[in-house]
């Protein structure tokens, strides 16, 4: 392991960057906050002025408002030329480590796979960007066809019987499921079911969205394999059980082989079973919700189906249900009468709406395009290679001193693993947070895990199918290097990052109401107050 590369020789050339570390520095522009760039009078984009005839006829338009409803002081927005606005945001973009730019396997649970550019290009066509959701159906047959077919694909992939593409993300799909479970029990007059089962390794929204829908959340504790055993479920299930919300595998990457027994137990107790398949990357075409006995599932299109994450949305989840539950799906459903596609609102048992209109069609389009580019065999290859990559990375990580992968020792995992650096911390004092910051110095993301840190000093890695062995090796080299540094110069790791956009970030100001500043105007006020005599 060498951090600096000597004068290259031919051997080096052949190996390329595969066993040397990248001398990285992220773009650092030290760009001011946009308000600091303002110069009174500069303009970025001018709105159209009205034709003289209109002005002559209606005057300034604004005076039709009562005085009290008129804005008196213009909003204190910054004033910049167009080029300056562009430059500002381009610089900020370079200061953002997009998945396109890095070997993004360190953001475990996020399925940072490649989002093909051709799909973005298609989604940028005016034939989708310039469509209003209330246009006559005859003028939107193309996009409806895509949405309809995407539903069909999802049925094939999951074994479920009908999908809604309305949820704007996985968490919203979870809220939806909770509403549908509520509606299902209500429709049967079953009023006492107020408990929702979930597990500690499932995504936080599984629990939180159920709570929003009015359920009491029961978190079933994991057993020695990393998932709750059947007795644990036995104990948790009762006649108050409305349903189960579960991921399988969870971040641990360990598939619960008893899952069909669990769903049967819940069904036997009168509950419904909802499968969180936000990350289905290791399972496409391998195993399905239907065979495992689920009544519902959802996929995050921005994860397993390759649509870009957009800094955190707009995203999309495809929410599928069994035939029995289809009547509860939100309206509208995209249907086909044999001649034309249409929006079906005529669904009296529907829970109604969870999101405006029909979801996020550009995301649907991208997922559609990705799926048809791969076909049945291609999707299965995605799963196979995602799992291969994950087990390769696991093998290599576990060879590093101080690393472990709690639970299910010696067994292969599916698409991701939640590792622990607990032993490394014990040996060196270096924590997973330190490793994280140091990883940024080499141009990769690194994620710890969701809270709570059930696995101490966690690191979650999800290699997906998108990275070559050479790129996985680069990521591993970075980790190996940091582990080495942790042993030799722990201070260096602890003081990281050095080559990221900024140096160390204090956490205190963000938790102190007297100092936090969620907007520029709030910041200015607090600065002023702090400086005033008698201020804090």
């Amino acid at each position: 392991m060498r951090e600096t590369r000597p004068e290259r020789d031919e051997t080096d050339v052949k190996k390329g960057d595969r066993d040397v570390l990248r001398r990285f520095h992220e773009a650092k522009w030290d760009e001011p906050v946009i308000f600091e760039l303002s110069t009174a009078g500069e303009r970025g984009v001018l709105p159209p002025e009205v034709e003289k005839e209109i002005a002559d006829e209606v005057g300034d338009g604004v005076s039709s408002l009562p005085e009290s409803m008129r804005r008196k002081r213009p909003p204190a927005l910054p004033e910049l030329s167009q080029a300056r606005v562009l430059r500002h945001y381009l610089r900020l973009s370079q200061e953002t480590l997009g998945a396109d730019l890095n070997v993004d396997v360190g953001q475990g649970t996020c399925t940072m796979k490649y989002s093909p550019k051709v799909n973005d290009q298609l989604a940028g066509m005016p034939e989708i960007t310039e469509l209003h959701p209330l246009q006559d159906e005859a003028t939107v047959q193309g996009i409806l066809e895509i949405m309809y077919n995407l539903d069909l694909f999802m049925r094939e992939i999951s074994g479920m019987d009908q999908f809604s593409l309305q949820p704007g993300g996985g968490s919203q799909a979870m809220a939806n499921r909770a509403c549908m479970i509520r509606a299902y029990h209500e429709s049967r007059g079953d009023k006492n079911r107020d408990e929702m089962l979930t597990t500690i390794f499932s995504h936080p929204s599984d629990a939180a969205a159920a709570a929003v829908a009015g359920f009491k959340v029961i978190t079933v504790p994991p057993g020695k394999n990393g998932y709750p055993d059947l007795e644990a479920f036995e104990k948790a299930i009762s006649d108050r059980t409305a349903g189960l919300m579960i991921t399988n595998p969870e971040d641990t990457g360990i598939f619960n082989p008893d899952i069909d027994r669990v769903t049967r137990m819940v069904h036997d107790a009168g509950g419904l079973c909802a499968y969180d398949q936000a990350n289905a990357n290791g399972m496409l075409g391998i195993t399905r919700a239907r065979e495992a006995g689920f009544d519902m599932c959802f996929f995050n299109l921005h994860k397993s189906f390759s649509t870009p994450h957009g800094c955190g949305g707009p995203a999309s989840a495809a929410l599928g249900v069994s035939r029995e539950l289809a009547r509860f799906l939100p309206v509208p459903i995209v249907s086909f009468d044999g001649r034309k596609y249409y929006l079906d609102y005529d669904r009296p048992d529907s829970i109604g709406k969870v999101r405006t209109w029909y979801g996020v069609p550009p995301v649907h389009l991208k997922a559609y395009s990705w799926i048809v580019a791969l076909g049945d065999e291609g999707l299965k290859e995605v799963a196979r290679i995602a799992v291969l990559n994950n087990n390769y990375v696991m093998k290599k990580v576990l060879e590093m001193p101080g690393a472990s992968a709690p639970y299910g020792r010696g067994r292969y995992r599916l698409e991701q693993v939640r590792y622990s650096w607990e032993r490394l911390r014990e040996l060196t004092g270096v924590t997973t947070d330190d490793i994280q910051r140091r990883a940024f110095d080499f141009g990769v993301h690194y994620w710890t895990s969701h809270h709570p840190f059930v696995v101490p000093e966690p690191m979650t890695v999800e290699p997906t199918e998108s990275y070559s062995k050479a790129e996985l090796d680069e990521f591993l080299n970075i980790l190996r290097h940091i582990v080495h540094e942790a042993q030799m110069e722990p201070e260096k790791v602890r003081n990281a990052p050095y080559n990221s956009v900024v140096r160390r970030i204090p956490s205190a100001p963000f938790d102190d109401p007297d100092r936090w500043a969620i907007t520029w105007r709030a910041y200015l006020k607090k600065q002023r107050r702090e400086r005033a005599p008698g201020g804090h």
């Binding site: 970025g44 408002l65 480590l97 391998i286």
Partner: protein, 463 residues
């Protein structure tokens, strides 16, 4: 083709047989199938998924998808007067440039070190929205305005400890449906009557219904039906008098000319950012915002991420999550509602939009919209048998009533459609009391010639 190499998909590099083999050897496994050992046979899917393709060549893929999309007819090919919550405003090229930048398009959940730019851009978005709505706290975007409205009501309920919200009967049925879904079972939603002459909230009904149970009085401004709610201050006063919060749903693009809601007593302002630089995207361009004062009792009730600013020892601007412990990310079901992947990229884009427009631009734009709208209203009202439903001032939408023409909205719209015009949203199902009425929308993109073309097509349609 027989002599082609074993198939390796461009999206899956390690399909290369030699690489696969090498990796399996490293792992110590015979076959990739072995790696799935955890999945019992009975749960294995053995069939073929009925999916068309593969269209492995990008050339074929693109042509296939393009040929489907080209079946759509756009609001460029047709002249559209549809609004009703999704609006055709002009999207500056710089907005597209920024939200299509590979870095922003594909980033996700990094930390404020290596994703400093994402944090700064969203902080700046919050800050510019704050100026627009005149509040000190704005969240990172939620899914859409409907979600923002629903969450605002839930926040109000938690803050007041009360369980009822009052909403106007004129509000967007779509938005109302989302709110109802999201507030069940905790919060009861009650509707308030409106003044049939102006569409504005019936203050008498409000006073009757506001009570010690009321967590929030929620109203839209401009309303879904286009009119401006001119007595916001009185509505807020009634809310406050009964100990409730005043929650105002605004169209942010109107705030260059309309008073910001805190001026008439709003405690929570919410809305949708689609008009601020997002294409309509067949309804996929939405994102919601929530804004409040910078008080702990408000801040602590946000479910969303709130990005804050600070400086570090080197004097650099740094960003981070404010009061992270309130979120479901931190404490699962103990958190405030839930947070996940919402609409961050649209937030960044809305920031770009506001920075481009600036204080003058947003005011001029508002004026232009109001002028165009009034011109359209005037011309349409002059058509025989056609009248404007409400007398209140409008911002960019207004209700046109066709009862006097003997035509249904459906008939009128069909006639317009033949002239390549999308007429206004038919209200006859959602608001039967308005008769054959439609909601028309006019923005800065509609020139005089466009409006005149509409008027002449309407004239023809009602003859």
């Amino acid at each position: 083709m027989a002599d082609r190499e074993p198939f390796v998909h461009p999206y899956i590099p390690n399909s290369v047989p030699e690489v696969k083999r090498r990796m399996l050897d490293e792992i110590g496994a015979e076959d990739i199938e072995d790696l799935f050992e955890q999945i019992p046979e009975r749960l294995r899917f053995k069939g073929k998924m009925g999916i068309p393709g593969p269209l492995r060549s990008e050339c074929e893929l693109k042509r296939h998808v393009e040929s489907i999309l080209l079946k759509n007819k756009t609001c460029r090919a047709y002249l559209s007067f549809l609004g009703a919550g999704c609006w055709q405003h002009y999207v500056p090229a710089v907005c597209d440039e920024i939200n299509r930048r590979a870095e922003f398009l594909t980033a996700y959940g990094g930390e404020p070190y290596e994703d400093h730019g994402r944090f700064q851009a969203l902080f700046e978005y919050e800050s510019m929205m704050a100026e627009l709505v005149d509040m000190d706290v704005v969240n990172v975007p939620t899914y859409d305005g409907a979600q923002a409205a629903a969450t605002s009501i839930r926040m109000a309920s938690r803050i007041t400890g009360r369980k009822e919200a009052l909403l106007p009967r004129t509000m967007s049925p779509e938005r109302l449906a989302v709110i109802k879904n999201y507030c069940r079972p905790d919060i009861a939603i009650r509707l308030l009557d409106y003044d049939p002459a102006t569409g504005e909230l019936d203050l008498g009904d409000l006073r009757r219904k506001a009570s010690g149970e009321t967590a929030a009085v929620f109203f839209e401004n401009p309303s879904y039906l286009g009119f401006v709610e001119t007595r916001g201050d009185e509505i807020s006063r009634v809310a406050h008098d009964s100990g409730a919060l005043s929650v105002v749903y605004v169209d942010p693009i109107s705030l260059g000319v309309l008073a910001p809601p805190p001026e008439y007593g709003a405690d929570i302002v919410c809305g949708d950012i689609q008009p601020l630089g997002m294409h309509m995207n067949y309804g996929g361009g939405h994102g919601g915002f929530i804004a409040t004062r910078d008080e702990v009792r408000f801040v602590k009730e946000y479910p969303s991420r709130l990005f804050g600013i600070a400086t570090n020892a080197e004097g650099e601007w740094v960003f981070g999550d404010v009061a992270y412990e309130r979120t479901s990310f931190a404490v699962r079901e103990k958190g405030k509602e839930f947070v996940g992947t919402h609409a961050a990229l649209w937030g960044i884009t809305a920031g770009v939009y506001l920075a481009l427009l600036g204080p003058r631009g947003i005011a001029e734009l508002g004026r232009t919209i109001m002028q165009r709208t009034q011109y359209a209203m005037k011309r349409i009202a002059a058509i025989r048998g056609v009248k404007l439903q409400f007398a209140a001032p409008s911002f960019k939408e207004f209700v046109v009533n066709f009862d006097g023409t003997g035509r249904t909205v459906e008939q009128v719209n069909r006639s317009l459609f033949e002239r390549k015009i999308f007429g206004g949203r038919d209200l006859s199902r959602d608001f039967p009391e308005l008769g054959q009425s439609a909601l028309y929308c006019v923005t800065e993109v509609h020139t005089k010639a466009d409006i005149d073309a509409l008027v002449s097509a309407l004239n023809a349609a009602v003859q």
